[in-house]
């Protein structure tokens, strides 16, 4: 069985470490905040100017002046801070944020990522994604393994305009977990019941399968 969104988020949460400052992108990455292991201290950064972002407010307590980068109403945790956009991206480009999790349209086996533009179709803009991928030490891309037409999103070379080059370190899809290595996508774990052959068939980029690949514990 392929992983659902919650299971993908839970798997990514296992990459968190105590003391990490983490930036989560819009969509499935946002869910990672729900699965921080108990007792672990992780501080979430939102690039519109928050460190120490908390959960959504209780109904009736929404504050129009307190939103996250997805423009959703949020809260602040004790010890949080607020800053301007320039300071926020100083944290990001200056590599003070240890982990970035974001969605992707395509990832290439050399770590290139495309996730901001479909020429002629989607002209929304890159937001903070280019700054985030250009700088973070550790970038995890969280996405479906194939697009709606069933075509692989793990490619030899991205076909869409790039967001960043040779920057992605790890990819978590609904089918498995992959490290980006000089030899391509190194399959670390399979989703429960998903075979190596199925993953191979759905991966257009170079795939490295090193011995027995364990099934993920979800």
């Amino acid at each position: 069985m392929a992983l659902n969104k919650e299971q993908m988020a839970r798997r990514i949460a296992r990459e968190l470490k105590d003391g990490y400052y983490v930036n989560l992108g819009i969509g499935i990455p946002t869910l990672v905040a729900n699965y921080v292991p108990q007792g672990m201290n992780v501080v979430f950064q939102s690039e519109n100017g928050i460190l120490g972002m908390g959960p959504f407010p209780y109904e009736g307590e929404e504050d129009a002046d307190l939103i996250n980068a997805g423009k959703q109403t949020v809260t602040l945790l004790p010890g949080s801070s607020i800053f301007d956009s320039s300071t926020s991206f100083a944290m990001i480009r200056g590599q003070h944020v240890q982990l970035t999790v974001l969605g992707g349209m395509e990832v290439a086996d050399n770590g290139d990522i495309a996730n901001w533009k479909i020429p002629g179709k989607m002209v929304k803009g890159m937001g903070g994604a280019m700054d985030l991928v250009a700088s973070a030490d550790n970038i995890i891309v969280c996405m479906m393994h194939a697009n709606k037409a069933g075509e692989s999103k793990l490619l030899k070379k991205c076909t869409l305009p790039l967001t960043g080059v040779k920057c992605v370190k790890k990819v978590v899809t609904d089918l498995g977990v992959f490290d980006i290595t000089p030899d391509g996508f190194n399959l670390l774990e399979r989703a429960p019941g998903v075979t190596v052959d199925e993953i191979r068939a759905k991966t257009e980029g170079r795939l490295v399968v090193d011995g027995e690949v364990p099934e993920m514990v979800v």
């Binding site: 423009k71 109403t73 890159m126 937001g127 903070g128 994604a129």
Partner: protein, 232 residues
């Protein structure tokens, strides 16, 4: 010293067709609602607007798109506005999409007298096309130029007649950098206080960057994505 003006219309005195404006805010959070409404009333056209976003169809900068007053936008994300997309695809509107951190820093640089800087964002992408690139300590960077504006329109929470400003929560966002980068900076605030009431240690934008300040009444502060959790 007294930078207080009566209202938004007085604050925008001197804005003409084809000028470049910076407009603070992130999404609809921290936008200068009253100055935008005054721009619609004023009817100036051919504007270049530097703003992280383009509002939504019927609020924020979307109001100036409806009236076709904007010719060019410099933004990082414009995904919430269908009219924007329509004007862009039809060629009525020009847009320069800029990585968000680069946009913030270009404004800051404009206000700080730094004509250009190197950033890693966008290296190897179409954002870097035609721009100088250089290697520093084994990594590649792209040269980006400052941004400056004829007018910067910002929104703060409190201010005084010296132009000192304090922002509230994430309504701060791009406002402080834009306040620095306007030839004329107009600040609208929810509350004007007496000089001395704002703790000097806690002022976000020192008054030197602000030319005109006025109090706006009845802020709408529209929420784009109202997300809540249930009380367990």
């Amino acid at each position: 010293m007294n930078k207080i003006v009566a209202n938004a219309d007085a604050a925008l005195e001197g804005i003409q067709d084809n000028m470049t404006l910076m407009v603070g805010g992130f999404g609809l959070c921290g936008i200068p609602e009253k100055s935008i409404a005054a721009l619609v009333r004023k009817g100036v056209k051919g504007l270049t607007c530097i703003s992280n976003n383009a509002g939504v169809d019927d609020f924020g900068l979307g109001l100036l798109l409806q009236t076709r007053q904007i010719r060019r936008m410099i933004s990082s994300y414009v995904g919430e506005n269908a009219e924007f997309e329509r004007q862009l695809l039809s060629g009525e509107l020009e847009v320069e999409l800029v990585p968000q951190g680069t946009l913030a820093e270009r404004c800051r640089a404009g206000g700080a007298g730094i004509p250009a800087f190197f950033t890693p964002a966008g290296y190897g992408t179409e954002v870097a096309e035609g721009k100088e690139t250089r290697e520093f300590d084994g990594k590649m960077y792209v040269l980006e130029n400052w941004l400056r504006a004829d007018f910067a329109l910002v929104k703060a929470w409190k201010g005084d007649r010296f132009g000192n400003l304090v922002y509230k929560r994430t309504a701060r966002n791009f406002n402080p950098m834009m306040a620095m980068a306007g030839k004329i900076t107009v600040a609208e605030v929810e509350e004007i206080v007496e000089p001395g009431e704002l703790d000097p240690d806690e002022i976000h934008t020192p008054g030197i960057f602000v030319n005109r300040i006025f109090r706006g009444e009845g802020y709408e502060k529209r929420i784009e994505q109202r997300t809540v959790r249930s009380r367990a």
